[in-house]
Amino acid sequence: MTTAIVDSDAPLAVEGVSATYGDLKALSAVTLHLGKGLTALLGPNGAGKTTLFRVGAGVLPPEQGTVRIAGRDPFTDPDAKAEVGYLAHGSSLDGRRTVRANLDFWGRVYGLDASEWAERIETVAEQFDFADLLDRDGDALSRGQRQRVGLGRALLHDPAVLFLDEPTSGLDPTTAQALRDELDAVAADRTVLYATHNLHEAAALADDVAFLREGEIVAHDAVETLLAQADVSGGRQVLVDAGADAETALRSLGYDAQRRNGEWLVTLADGEAPADLVARLVDRDVRVSGVDRVETDLDDLYRHLEARA
């Protein structure tokens, strides 16, 4: 898949964008230039992800800076918004009407002609596996089904740029995986900005990852590049046999261990030698079952970037 980082002629160009909610600075001089491919937007709750989506899609105006979709301002130019597919956090459906009627409505909103939108409805329903739900009322759908329909709605007018706010949150693993597979295909010829808290999902799907923290982009690059540049050691883990003595000993040594599969797992700090801990545990008659080296992953990088705040 192509890399998502390109120049300012990118399908989605966010340049120095700032936005506030009352006294709260939600975005601060955010710059992102995205080409085709899928960019995962990561960050803790309240980091500004939803605000960035809203400003990027022309739902809200930026206080400072510019947003361009294929060179046009989505807030003032409706033609630019015609190129945008938008899935807000939590899919919205008119529960009084069938899925097909809901999609009919959005087909008309986007100015598609009747035959065109009927065809598109069938296409996206097949693509996101909800063809059997088309004649069911919106109120009768589960959350996962609503999410699938929401994605179909966002793609109904075949947009070039997609904003997807946590599309797989709250879904069962099978449904989430099915959606991920579809997103992978969708991103092949589109620009997709995708917010998620699922780091494994981001690592598996994204071409690029952007970290947003307190309204600022603190890192944006290909996952491999970020991991290589971040100088974040995955470190080593010491595995300790479970037992009352082990827990007490670890606490007395000041370690915050995690219990896993009948063992205590101690992650060492950068530069800390496992031999030191092993020696101190042996002195306390605690049995050490092993020492592992852990590869750096997106999880480590996320915590590293978050901790830099």
């Binding site: 409706p78 807000a88 919205s92 009407r97 009627a101 959005w106 909103v109």
Partner: protein, 266 residues
Amino acid sequence: MTDWGRVRQLSRAMIDVEVEARNRWLVLYPVGFGLLFVAVAAIAATQPEALTGTTLDSLEATLDRYFTSVSGPRIAIALVVVQAPVLIAIFAAVVAVPTARSLAGRRAASGEFENLLASPYTHGEVFAALVVTSFVLALIQTMVLAVIAVGGAWLVLLAAGAQFTLAMGPVVYAPYLVPVSVALWAALVATVIYLAFPETALSGTGTGNALLLVAFLPAFALLGLTTVAPGVSPLLVAVGGFVGVGLLTAVGAAAIGKWFRPVRVL
């Protein structure tokens, strides 16, 4: 800049959705009120003492303006002539407010409003389409009411042998013209309230209720006007309503453009 072609496209989509979703309930409500109006007219004909003194004075004062001879129930006839346009206008406002609330409030609460703002329309066009949709739905219901209430009452009048002066024209079309501006104003104000102050209005607080009163103001003003000055021309009232509400709507739309912050609704 507002493109009225796009406003029409979005309004039509929303109107069709609402007409389909409300189905027969869209007309049952005004049909019921229309029949109620005819029933009230019948009661007024047989028991005029049921009306208040002020209303009776108002009705009596206007009878000679439109009728040369009346062999049937005078008060019932006057009720139809004087009160029908105003009562129908009040109905228009009463219908427009919950319609706007349902349209704007439900979309804001469900997140659909956010999707609308992300669709290929400016904020002004989305807002205008919501107002137009509420207005048209209110007008459909109001016209159904007018046809049944006024049409039914006129049948009674004709059956009673009423003969009319040439000045009768405005009385015929006033019930259909006067409510138009009232419905537009109510739709505009209610849409503003439920978008700009969704929590206040939806919680039914005193502030919300006070804001809603503004939506009913032209309708209540009409009621007062026809009671105090029953001889005033319905055509003048209709035209005055168009001009007044047209100006208020322009001011309101400008204020929306300046102060409306969609983030309040999102």
